[in-house]
Amino acid sequence: MTDTNRKIQELLIDYAGALRDGCLPVFLKSLSRQEGQMIASSEEFWDAAEMVRTLNGVGFADKAVTADVGLFMSRVDANIASRLKKAKTSPRGKRTTSTKSTNKTQRTEKTT
């Protein structure tokens, strides 16, 4: 992907390859300004990109299906627990911040 004057079909094939190999950021970073503009104005690219995503889903999505959903479930539960904890502690956090700012204001007033 080092070539900076890629034609639209090359860009599409590189996008498809990046999606298949799970390295989309590499493709995105490889785009030059001209290539970005070419993608933006090419209807064929967007049509083909939708098809590429479909092929990716049909051909390779099995790789993402893990056998142990229980393990994944525990991650989700931990995420929920952390959000619950954050929701409980956030009002106190706000109070602390406001106290700090009051102190700061008072200090400023004293110095003036």
């Binding site: 639209i8 079909q9 090359e10 599409l12 094939i13 996008y15 498809a16 390859g17 990046a18 999606l19 298949r20 190999d21 799970g22 390295c23 989309l24 950021p25 995105l28 970073k29 785009l31 030059s32 300004r33 290539e35 970005g36 503009q37 993608i39 933006a40 064929e44 967007w46 049509d47 083909a48 990109a49 939708e50 098809m51 590429v52 995503r53 479909t54 092929l55 990716n56 889903g57 049909v58 051909g59 390779f60 999505a61 099995d62 790789k63 993402a64 299906v65 893990t66 959903v69 994944f72 479930m73 991650r75 989700v76 539960d77 995420n79 929920i80 959000r83 619950l84």
Partner: protein, 190 residues
């Protein structure tokens, strides 16, 4: 929609947070497969898919309102994509966006697009349609797509088809456009 999923959805939309948390397990078990396959279309990376999906489920737990009137699995997938997955998908690459030569809108369209005709069709239907339309391509085009789907690079495909890398890229591009056109026609018939 099966009874297990329907019950899980009922629990998910309860006002009590703890009840919603308990309902998450059956919901995750019933939907994990279809959700992660769907996400894989856009990310192509199983680790990132799991990270995004974890946040998607937590978002659903936090704000399940959108799922209140869902009546079928297809509608569920569509709603989850539009209201929960898309936001998270866009966040995945937001951090690198400032260094890119793509506009914010093009980036959004590439990473988390609006639902196209193909994206609204279920996985099993897609497999079926794809199988049929692949058979309608020219032998050389079909072979190029099949080899690509086996994981081969353009250079390896060029060696296999005894042609140049540039010709293979053009062949695949044309074949993909043909596939898209034919699949659109099939989807309109469904």
């Amino acid at each position: 929609m099966n009874r297990r999923l329907r019950n899980a959805l009922k629990g998910l939309t309860a006002p009590d947070a703890e009840r919603r948390r308990r309902a998450m397990e059956p919901f995750v078990r019933a939907t994990f497969d279809s959700f992660i396959r769907y996400l894989y279309r856009y990310l192509g990376n199983e680790v990132e898919c799991e990270d995004v999906l974890e946040d998607v489920y937590a978002d659903i737990w936090e704000n399940p309102e959108r799922l209140r009137n869902v009546t079928s699995e297809r509608e569920l997938l569509k709603t989850v994509y539009l209201y929960y997955m898309r936001k998270r998908l866009r966040e995945v690459y937001r951090r690198i966006n400032r260094n890119l030569h793509l506009s914010q809108q093009d980036m959004k369209n590439l990473i988390a697009p609006e639902l196209g005709i193909l994206e609204a069709v279920s996985q099993s239907e897609l497999q079926d349609i794809l199988h049929r339309v692949l058979g309608r391509l020219k032998a050389r085009e079909r072979r190029a797509i099949e080899l690509w789907m086996e994981g081969m690079s353009s250079r390896a495909i060029a060696n296999e088809l005894k042609t140049t890398v540039g010709a293979v890229k053009m062949l695949k591009f044309r074949a993909i456009l043909k596939l898209k056109k034919m699949m659109n026609e099939y989807c309109h018939e469904i």
